[in-house]
Subunit: 226 residues, 2 copies
Amino acid sequence: MAKLRCQISMSVDGFVAGPNPDESQPLGEGGERLHEWVFKLAAWREPHGEPGGEVNASSEVLEEITSGVGATIMGRNMFGGGPGPWGDEPWRGWWGEEPPFHMPVFVLTHHEREPLEMSGGTTFTFVTEGIERALELARETAGGKDIALAGGAEAIQQYAAAGTLDELTLNVPPVLLGGGTPLFGKRAAAVALEPAGVVEGPDATHLRYRIGLGGPDRGQARPSPG
Amino acid sequence: MAKLRCQISMSVDGFVAGPNPDESQPLGEGGERLHEWVFKLAAWREPHGEPGGEVNASSEVLEEITSGVGATIMGRNMFGGGPGPWGDEPWRGWWGEEPPFHMPVFVLTHHEREPLEMSGGTTFTFVTEGIERALELARETAGGKDIALAGGAEAIQQYAAAGTLDELTLNVPPVLLGGGTPLFGKRAAAVALEPAGVVEGPDATHLRYRIGLGGPDRGQARPSPG
C-alpha cells in the first residue's frame, strides 16, 4: 500500500518551531533558522521559481518530498489564516497564487470550506471529518502513489499516534532553540521509532525513521508495506 | 591547548534524562533506554569488567571518551548522593569500589570534602570553587591530554554557556521521551553548534559538534585549538 511519509526540520534540542509564534513570525523566535539549509538548494529554488542553487547531499532528501508522491496532507496551522471560521476573505495559504505543491493538498480543519483551486496544479481541499478521512481522500486521489504529510507538529503527532504515519525524516540543522513546539510532546509515548538511515548534508543531518506504535508494542515498527 | 570534550546520550526529542527522576530511577522514566546502545558494546563491557560484547560503528565513538583523555570532570548530580552536605557516611559514587574512569575525576560541588581514592586509578576530587577552577585543576593533572566532561546536563550547560566546552558528541538512539531534562534548556541561546561529522551506529546515531558561543557571535565556533 502507498505510504504516508513526512519530513520536518527540527532543532538539535527537539523543537520544530521556536517560542512565541505569531502572525509576523509563524515559526516562532529563531524558527526560520531551522529552514536555512533548504533555501540554498536548487531542489528548493526551482519549484519556488528561483534561479540557481546548490546540489549537495541534502538535495536528494528534499526531492523525496515530492518524488513518487500523489497528494499532500497538512494541518490547519500549517495552511495558516489563524484559528476559527474562514471568514469573508478567506486565507489562501502562505505560498501565493502558485503554491509549490503542484498536486492535490488536503487541509485538516474543523471549519467547512469549498475547495480552492490555485495555479500550477495545486488544489486545497478542506477536510472536516478527521485525519483518517483525509488520508482516505488523499489515497483515492494519489492513484497508488505515496502521500506526503507536510506538517505541522499537531498533524504529525496525530497521524503518528494513530499508527498511520509510515516514515519520518527529521532534517536537523546545527540549531538550538531552547524552547518552542516539541516534535511529539506528550504523544511521544504513543510513537516508536525504528532507524532507517542517516544522510549527512553540509547544513543539516537527515535522520530517517520508520514509525510504529509505542505503548505495549513499543519498539515494534509495523511491517513494511513492501 | 588540550580540549574539553563531552559525550552524552540524548533522545530524538532532545532529552538527556526522562521525567520524574528519583533515587530509584536516577535517569527518570524511560531514561535508561537512552543507554541501551552502549551496554552491548565490548568497548563498554571491558572497562566495566563484563566479558564479550559487539564491535560496531559506535565502538570507536565510545572509545573516544577515554582516548587521549587525562582527567574527567562531572557535576554533583552525576556523582550522586543527593543534594546538600555529604553527611557522616558520604556517598562513594554509582560505580562501586573500582569505577570505570581509571583517572583523576573532578566533581563540581558546593560542599567541601576530602579527595576519595578508589581502586583502579580513579580519585574523586571535590571542587567547590566553580567550573573554571575545576577545569584548571583537571588541565594541571592531565599533562597536556584532553579533559572529558562526563555530565550531567547542568554541568554541560554551564561549561557550554561559559564558552569553555570545545566538542560535544550527542549519542542519539531511536528513543522518544516526551519530557524530562532538556540538553540545554534556557541556556540554548548562549551556545552555538558547528557540525563536525556524523557516525551511524546500528543502535544510535552520533552527532558531533564543535561548540561556540551564541548571542551576538551566534554561529561562530571558536577557532580550533589544533
